[in-house]
C-alpha cells in the first residue's frame, strides 16, 4: 500500500560507468504508516486547537474525497505491526511568502501529530520551488524546539540514525532532487505534536513582463483551469494579517468555510519594486489588498482550500520607457552579493538588423515519426517568417550532412520554393552525426560580422551521447552567432538542448505536439526579431583604487536580452561596488549603462541565492565531465559556508536528552479526557481518513544495451581487413621474386 524510498540497486551494472551511485538511496524498506500532517506556516500556529478539532470530529465522506486529491503526504516507517492500523491524515496547510522585487522568502510550517498510541518514526516527501535554497530548519517535538544543523549529507544521516537508535527525538531534512525534499522524524511519542519549520529563499523572475510565484503543493503537474477570480477586497483581511503579524496565526478550525481535513492557506506580502498593473492567479481565487502602487497583501478568497494543486500568483508591473533595473545587495562575511533583474523596454523602435538564419534539422533514424513531422511543421512556419532582407540556409544531418544551398542565400520566391520542397521531402534514417552540421552552421572562432545577425536554429531530439564534446565545439565556434535549440519528439534530451543553447547564447524551446509547432516557432521568431541587448558584459566599479575587484557572476554566460525577457544575474564581489556597469550591443549599437549600487535594496538571504546558482553551475560541470570528487568537495564547501541544503548537504536536528516520559502526550495541556479515551478517539478519526502516501523511486538499473551492433560492425571490419591481408599475402606468394 505504501511505498518508501528505495532503490533498485544495480544487480547488474555492466554498462554503468560509475558503480555505486545508487548507494545513497538504499535505505528504508519497511513502512508502516499512519499519521497526519498539518502544513502550516507563519508564527506560532495554534496546533493544539487544530489537533483538538481534528480528532474531535468525525469525518464526513466528503473529507475523504478531498484527501484523495492531495499530493502531500506523510508515511510512517514504524517498527510495530500495530502502526499498520493507523492512517495518514493531513489537517491543514499554511504558507507565507514575502516578495521583495525579484527575491522571495518563504516560511512554511509542517505540523504533524502522531495519532498512534506508540512511538513511531515518520518520513514524508514534499515539493519545493525549483530554485529554493533551504536555509533554516527548526523542529518542535511537543513543547521543545530543536534547531536543525547543516551537515554533510552522509554525516547528517549518520547523526540522525544514531539518535534514532538511542531513542532520541530527531529530524532530518534531505534534498532528494533540487525540487523534492524529504523529512525523516524519529521517535515521535504517541499523540505528540511535531512541527517542522522550514525557510527558504527563491527568486521570482519576470517573463514577458509577468512575475510568477509558484508554491508547489503536489509533485505531479496538474491541469489548471482557466483564470480564477480576484475579488476586490478581503473581508477579514485585517484579522488575518494581524494574526500573521503577532504570531497569533490561529487557524480557525471552526470556520464553516474551511474544508475539513487539510485546509491550505497561502498569504503573500508583495513589494513589487515597481507600480503593479495587475495581480492574478491561474490556480486559486484570491483576495487582494493594495497598500500602495507597488505593494499588496494577497490571500486566498476562501482562506482555506484543499492542498491539491500548486499555488500560482502572477503580477505585472506597469511598463516604463527605460529598461528598469532592480538591484539587490547583501553583505556577508566581508563579501558583497548583488542580484540584478533588468527588464528591457518594450518593442524597440529601431528595426532589427538583417539576419542570417541557418536551420539545422536532424534526420537521423531516431527522428522517425512524430519528431520528423514536428520538424517539418516547424521549418515550414520558420520559412514563412523570413523577411526579404534575410539570408538563410537549411542543413540536414544523419550519418552524414547535406546542405541545401551550400551557403546562406537571400530570401526570394525561388529560394523559398526550393526550401519548402526540400523540407517536405526530408526522410529520417541513419546515425546522428551532429558535429559536422553544427560546425558547418556556426561561424567559427572569432568570426564577427556586424552587418548581420547569425542565428542557428537547431531542430533535434538530442539523441546523442557525446554531449560534452558538442558543448565544447559549440562554445568554441559560436563566434557572434546565436544557437537556438528546438526539442522534438516525445522525449527530447532536454538537458543537452538547454545546455547547448546556453553554450550558444540562445534559448531552448520544446515542441511537444505537431499542432503547436507553428505557434511555438512564431513565438521564437518574435524573440529572434526583437533581439535587443547582445554581448552583455557586467563590470563592477568600486571606490578603491588598488586593483580591480574579483567578481564571480552566474549564469556563467549572460544570455542575450530579448524583448520580454529580463536579464538576471547574481554576482559576488570581494569589495563593495559603487556601481555595476553593463555593456553590450543594443540593436547593433554599442550600449552601456550603469546601476548605482547605492540604490540597491538590501535583501537578506541573497548570498544563498548566489550560492544556489553556484552549486547548480558546479553540478553542470560535473555532468559535463569535471572531476566528480573535486566538484563534490567544492559543493560541500559552498553549501556549508552558506548554510543551504542540497545535493551534498542536509539539515539534521537531534534533541539533547532522551525524554523522561516519551508517550502519552495526547491533548497535552487541554485537560479533558483521559489518555486512553483520546487514543480511542484518534483511532476512530484516523481510521476514516484516507492514507496519503507519496513515494519516490530512485532507479539505477542495469545495462540496457546488448551492444551487438558494435561487435558485429567491428567483426565485419576485421573480416574485411583479414580477407584483404590474406589476399595480399597470397598475391605476393604468387609473384615470383
Amino acid at each position: 500500500m505504501s511505498i518508501a524510498i528505495f532503490s533498485i540497486s544495480g544487480a547488474i551494472r555492466r554498462c554503468m560507468a560509475r558503480p555505486g551511485n545508487g548507494a545513497a538511496w538504499q535505505q528504508h524498506t519497511p513502512i508502516g504508516l499512519a499519521l497526519c500532517g498539518i502544513l502550516s506556516v507563519v508564527g506560532l500556529f495554534d496546533v493544539d486547537a487544530a489537533l483538538a478539532q481534528g480528532r474531535g470530529q468525525d469525518r464526513s465522506p466528503g473529507d475523504m474525497e478531498l484527501q484523495e486529491e492531495t499530493g502531500f503526504g506523510l508515511m510512517l516507517m514504524d517498527q510495530s505491526e500495530a502502526a499498520q492500523a493507523w492512517q495518514a491524515r493531513l489537517l491543514a496547510s499554511y504558507a507565507a511568502v514575502e516578495v521583495s522585487g525579484a527575491v522571495a522568502r518563504a516560511r512554511i510550517r509542517q505540523v504533524f501529530v502522531n495519532e498512534a498510541p506508540a512511538e513511531v518514526d515518520a518520513r514524508y516527501l514534499f515539493p519545493l520551488p525549483d530554485d529554493a535554497a533551504v536555509d533554516k530548519l527548526n523542529i518542535r517535538f511537543g513543547d521543545r524546539w530543536i534547531e536543525g544543523l547543516l551537515k554533510e549529507k552522509a554525516e547528517a544521516r549518520q547523526t540522525f540514525e544514531r539518535a534514532r537508535a538511542a531513542g532520541k527525538r530527531a529530524g532530518l531534512v534531505e534534498s532528494l532532487r533540487p525540487n523534492i525534499f524529504s523529512t525523516d522524524l524519529a521517535n515521535i511519542a504517541g499523540g505528540e505534536l511535531v512541527s517542522v519549520d522550514l525557510e527558504y529563499q527563491m527568486t521570482v523572475k519576470p517573463k514577458d513582463g509577468v512575475f510568477e510565484l509558484r508554491l508547489p503543493q503536489v509533485i505531479t503537474p496538474r491541469f489548471m483551469p482557466q483564470q480564477h477570480m480576484v475579488s476586490a477586497d478581503i473581508k477579514d483581511w485585517d484579522t488575518l494579517m494581524a494574526e500573521l503579524a503577532d504570531n497569533g496565526a490561529v487557524l480557525e478550525t471552526n470556520n464553516p468555510n474551511a474544508p475539513h481535513g487539510f485546509p491550505a492557506a497561502f498569504v503573500v506580502r508583495l513589494k513589487a519594486g515597481g507600480d503593479i498593473a495587475t495581480i492574478e492567479s491561474p490556480s486559486h481565487d484570491l483576495t487582494v489588498r493594495r497598500h500602495d502602487e507597488d505593494a499588496a497583501d494577497i490571500a486566498l478568497r476562501d482562506r482555506y482550500v484543499p492542498a491539491d494543486k500548486d499555488f500560482v500568483l502572477r503580477w505585472r508591473l506597469r511598463e516604463t520607457a527605460e529598461p528598469a533595473a532592480m538591484l539587490f545587495h547583501e553583505e556577508k562575511s566581508g563579501e558583497h552579493y548583488y542580484m540584478a533583474v533588468l527588464a528591457p523596454p518594450k518593442a524597440a523602435t529601431t528595426k532589427a538588423p538583417a539576419r542570417d538564419v541557418r536551420f539545422i534539422v536532424d534526420t537521423s533514424g531516431s527522428m522517425h515519426g512524430a519528431a520528423l513531422d514536428q520538424a517539418k511543421a516547424a521549418l515550414a512556419s520558420a520559412l514563412d517568417g523570413l523577411r526579404l532582407e534575410d539570408r538563410f540556409e537549411i542543413i540536414q544531418f544523419n550519418s552524414d550532412m547535406h546542405s541545401l544551398f551550400g551557403e546562406a542565400v537571400p530570401v526570394s520566391d525561388n529560394t523559398l520554393r526550393l526550401a519548402r520542397g526540400y523540407v517536405a521531402n526530408l526522410v529520417s534514417d541513419g546515425g546522428t552525426n551532429m558535429a559536422l552540421a553544427l560546425r558547418a552552421a556556426l561561424p567559427g572562432p572569432g568570426v564577427h560580422d556586424s552587418e548581420t545577425l547569425r542565428q542557428v536554429v537547431f531542430l533535434t531530439d538530442g539523441a546523442v551521447s557525446n554531449e560534452t564534446a558538442l558543448f565544447g565545439m559549440t562554445a568554441a565556434n559560436i563566434g557572434d552567432a546565436r544557437l537556438f535549440t528546438i526539442g522534438l519528439g516525445p522525449a527530447p534530451n532536454s538537458w543537452f538542448m538547454r545546455k547547448a543553447a546556453e553554450a550558444g547564447r540562445g534559448v531552448f524551446l520544446n515542441i511537444d505536439r505537431v499542432e503547436e509547432a507553428g505557434e511555438k516557432i512564431d513565438a521564437l521568431y518574435r524573440k529572434l526579431q526583437s533581439v535587443q541587448l547582445t554581448d552583455l558584459d557586467v563590470g563592477v566599479r568600486t571606490a578603491s583604487l588598488s586593483g580591480g575587484p574579483k567578481a564571480e557572476i552566474y549564469p556563467r554566460n549572460l544570455p542575450d536580452l530579448y524583448a520580454g525577457e529580463p536579464l538576471y544575474f547574481v554576482l559576488r564581489s570581494d569589495v563593495e561596488a559603487q556601481e555595476l556597469t553593463l555593456g553590450g550591443m543594443l540593436n547593433g549599437q554599442a550600449w552601456t549603462t550603469s546601476i548605482d549600487a547605492d540604490g540597491a535594496r538590501e535583501a537578506p538571504g541573497l548570498a544563498r541565492l548566489w550560492a544556489r546558482e553556484k552549486l547548480e553551475d558546479l553540478d553542470d560541470l560535473r555532468r559535463m565531465g569535471a572531476d566528480a570528487d573535486r566538484i563534490r568537495a567544492q559543493s560541500i564547501e559552498i553549501a556549508l559556508a552558506h548554510g543551504i541544503a542540497g545535493r551534498y548537504t542536509s539539515f539534521v536536528a537531534v534533541e539533547k536528552e532522551v525524554p523522561r516520559e516519551p508517550a502519552e502526550r495526547i491533548g497535552d495541556g487541554q485537560g479533558n479526557g483521559t489518555g486512553a479515551d483520546k487514543k480511542e478517539q484518534l483511532r476512530k478519526a484516523s481510521a476514516k481518513s484516507a492514507l496519503q502516501t507519496l513515494a519516490s523511486v530512485q532507479l539505477s538499473g542495469p545495462a540496457t544495451a546488448a551492444g551487438w551492433l558494435r561487435d558485429l560492425l567491428v567483426a565485419i571490419a576485421a573480416g574485411l581487413a583479414g580477407a584483404f591481408c590474406l589476399w595480399a599475402a597470397l598475391r605476393r606468394q604468387g609473384t615470383p621474386a
Binding site: 544487480a11 547488474i12 545508487g22 507519496l694 523511486v697 542495469p702 540496457t704 546488448a706 551492444g707
Partner: protein, 210 residues
Amino acid sequence: MTRGRSCFSGRRNGGRSRGFLLLCSALALSLTVWLGGGAVLQVGKAWLAPVLIKRAWASAVDAGGPAPPPWPWADTRPVLRLSVPRLHVERYVLDGANGRALAFGPVLSNPGGVHVVYGHRDTHFAFLESIRLDDRLLVQTVNGPPVSYRVREIAVRDEDDIAIVSNGGEAPLVLVTCYPFHALDPTGRLRYVLLAAREHGGPAGVALAR
C-alpha cells in the same frame, strides 16, 4: 650487383611481409569470428529464447501454476507478459534482474511493488522507440487477467537522474532502456524512461521527478 642485392633483399622483404600479412589476416579473422560470433550469439539468444519462453508460459497457463524454467538449465522464468496492442508487440518479462536473464528477455525488478522492467534497447526493447504518449500497455501474470496501463510520460535521463514520485494508489509501471537507441557504444549513461500508470485505480498523480 646492385640489382642482385635488391633482388635478394626484395625476396627477403617479400617473405617477411608475407608472413606478416598472414599473421594480420589470422588475427583479424579470429577477431571476426570472436566478435561476430558473439554478436550472432547475442542476437540469436535474444530472438530464439522467447520461443522457448513462450512455450513455458503456455504450459503454465494450461497447468495453472507458475511458469517452469523455459529450458532445463535456465535460472529464470517468465513472470509477466507485456504487450502493446497498437504495435502488436508482445514480450515475456523474466524474473531476476541480472545480466544473464537480460540477454534472453526484458527483466522485472519490483522492490516494494513498483514494477520496473529493463530491456536491451537493441533487442527486446527496441520497440520502445515507437511508443507514444497515451499508448496502452497490457500486463498479465500467468494466472491473472490483463491489466491495462497508459503511457503517461517519456523522458531521457542520466542514469543517476531517474526518480519517480507517486502519491499512492496502484504502483506504476516503468520501462527502462539505454539511449540513444541506435548508438554504437553500449556503455552510455543515458536512459530512456517510460512511465505508465494503471488505467483504472492508478494513483492520482505519478510522475518522473524533474
